[in-house]
């Protein structure tokens, strides 16, 4: 599978309810040094790439940050084990 096969797809919870679209895949490091996906960033209104304001510690010009946060409101991290690609 390619990253582009996941990004933009609708994620569902265990009961088949849609959670939103996958905006990003977040990895963590395994003991052997490989990176594996441990969570997905899910957003209810996907509009292309997120500008980066979801990252901790990133602040832009106040106005643009506000607009970006508003456009991407409701964006949250869902553990990868809880993400189902089909309902």
């Amino acid at each position: 599978m390619k990253a582009s096969d996941y990004l933009g797809r609708t994620a569902h919870d265990a009961d088949g309810r849609p959670l939103g679209r996958i905006a990003d895949l977040i990895t963590t490091t395994a003991p052997d040094g490989t990176h594996y996906i441990h969570a997905a960033l899910v957003t209810p209104r996907h509009r292309g790439r997120l500008l980066g304001y979801e990252r901790p510690g990133f602040h832009g010009p106040w106005l643009i940050e506000r607009i970006a946060n508003w456009l991407h409101r409701g964006t949250r991290e869902i553990p990868w084990t809880d993400v189902h690609l089909t309902p």
Partner: protein, 408 residues
């Protein structure tokens, strides 16, 4: 002199934004029809391009990333592609116009029809971009373009009524003009001051020159001397035209008329210098747009680019430059007016301007890129204000173009 050589990148970039072929005529037209009433737009444009070029330069100095890398990274491949296509079209239309402008300048000096000069100009341009060192090109045409300072010198030998000009600053359009033509010229002058290829060229030029963190001062000097200098030359053109043509109610639509006030003020020698200036400025702008066309495409796709590597190692980049020159020259051989061509490029500019400047502003706040060199409060306030102005200009551009029939 050494200091001056260090800032030729900024000067050459500014020439492409303020006194290339389209701007020479547009500033002259604005002076003839509106006097100094639109001078504030040039000043606004200088501040706007300084704000964003400085941010782009700071990103380049700290991370070695040129502007188009940021565009694809922040906007993603699709919106990045839209910006690429729009930006490329503006750049190639302008490139065509500049090749025509160089030919027109030689035509004024030799009386041989400009279309005959076109293929020669296009070929010489390509050879220069193929063979000559980046720094050599930048220094030669950056410094020679300063010959346009004769427009500023000519003002003092013309009979100028300073109080009338002073009163025109910031006043409403004259009775002979409407607010829509005023708006059209304002947007055209502002958009050309902020043309996207300036930041593409400036940041890529910084990478070509191998800017490091220690070059922050060089970068700032380029921005804060280069662009105001370009703006000053543009204002010189406007004043000359306002003094000579406005009282006579003569409209300006050709390069021959643009340089006339210098000939009136300074005689034959002045005319020779101004023709050299026009030649160098348009040739410099042709190099800027020719290279920018290659830079943007190569940077979008991640290809090897630039003049630091042998052309064989950057075959795709050099092909794009070559093809762009051919397209630009071919456009001109359809006998389309080179000056009008730059006006049409405004349409594409409108779409691209916000998409070009938003990623720069966002990345300039990213500590992963800039560390402690991120934007401060003043940078951000100015950045956001200008982004709003750019957005307004972008939205207004096409309706104004249609409503006025390109400023008629």
């Amino acid at each position: 002199m050494k200091r001056l050589i260090g800032i030729t990148l900024g000067i050459l970039t500014a020439i492409g934004g303020f006194v290339d072929i389209g701007d020479l005529v547009a500033n002259s037209q604005a002076g003839a029809r509106f006097g100094m009433r639109l001078a504030w737009v040039v000043v606004l444009g200088v501040i706007g391009i300084c704000v964003f070029a400085e941010m782009a330069g700071r990103v380049t100095v700290t991370s070695r990333r040129p502007v188009f890398d940021l565009i694809r990274e922040r906007l993603g491949p699709r919106l990045g592609l839209v910006t690429l296509v729009g930006g490329y079209l503006v750049t190639v239309l302008t490139l065509g116009a500049e090749i025509g402008g160089v030919a027109l300048a030689i035509h004024l000096a030799t009386s041989v029809h400009y279309l005959l000069w076109m293929p020669i100009v296009a070929f010489v341009l390509w050879v220069a971009l193929w063979r000559v060192k980046f720094e050599t090109l930048e220094r030669m045409f950056g410094l020679l373009g300063l010959a346009l300072a004769v427009f500023v010198i000519a003002i003092f030998s013309l009979d100028v009524d300073w109080s009338t000009l002073g009163h025109e600053l910031g006043s409403r359009p004259p009775d002979s003009e409407s607010w829509t033509t005023y708006g059209y010229f304002a947007v055209a002058l502002f958009a050309s001051a902020m043309t996207p290829y300036e930041v593409f060229f400036f940041s890529s030029g910084g990478v070509e020159e191998g800017w490091k963190r220690s070059d922050m001062i060089t970068q700032r000097a380029n921005v804060f001397i280069g662009f105001p200098l370009g703006g000053l030359l543009a204002l010189g053109v406007m004043v000359c035209s306002a003094v000579v043509f406005e009282p006579l109610m003569v409209s300006v639509d050709s390069l021959g008329q643009t340089v006339l006030p210098v000939a009136l003020g300074l005689g034959k020698l002045g005319l020779a210098v101004v023709l050299l200036g026009v030649f160098s400025a348009t040739f410099g702008a042709a190099m800027e747009t020719g290279l920018s066309a290659g830079y943007t495409v190569a940077q979008y796709f991640g290809w090897e680019w630039g003049k630091r590597v042998a052309p064989r190692q950057a075959a795709r980049f050099h092909t794009v430059v070559l093809v762009s020159i051919v397209i630009g020259a071919a456009l001109l051989l359809t006998t389309i007016n080179p000056v009008q061509l730059t006006e049409y490029s405004l349409i594409f500019s409108a779409v691209v301007l916000p998409l070009t400047y938003l990623p720069i502003l966002v990345v300039a706040n990213d500590r992963d890129y800039l560390g402690d060199q991120v934007n401060g409060r003043i940078h951000n306030t100015l950045g956001v204000i200008f982004l709003v102005v750019i957005l307004i200009a972008a939205i207004a551009a096409i309706p104004l173009l249609i409503a006025t029939g390109a400023g008629q």
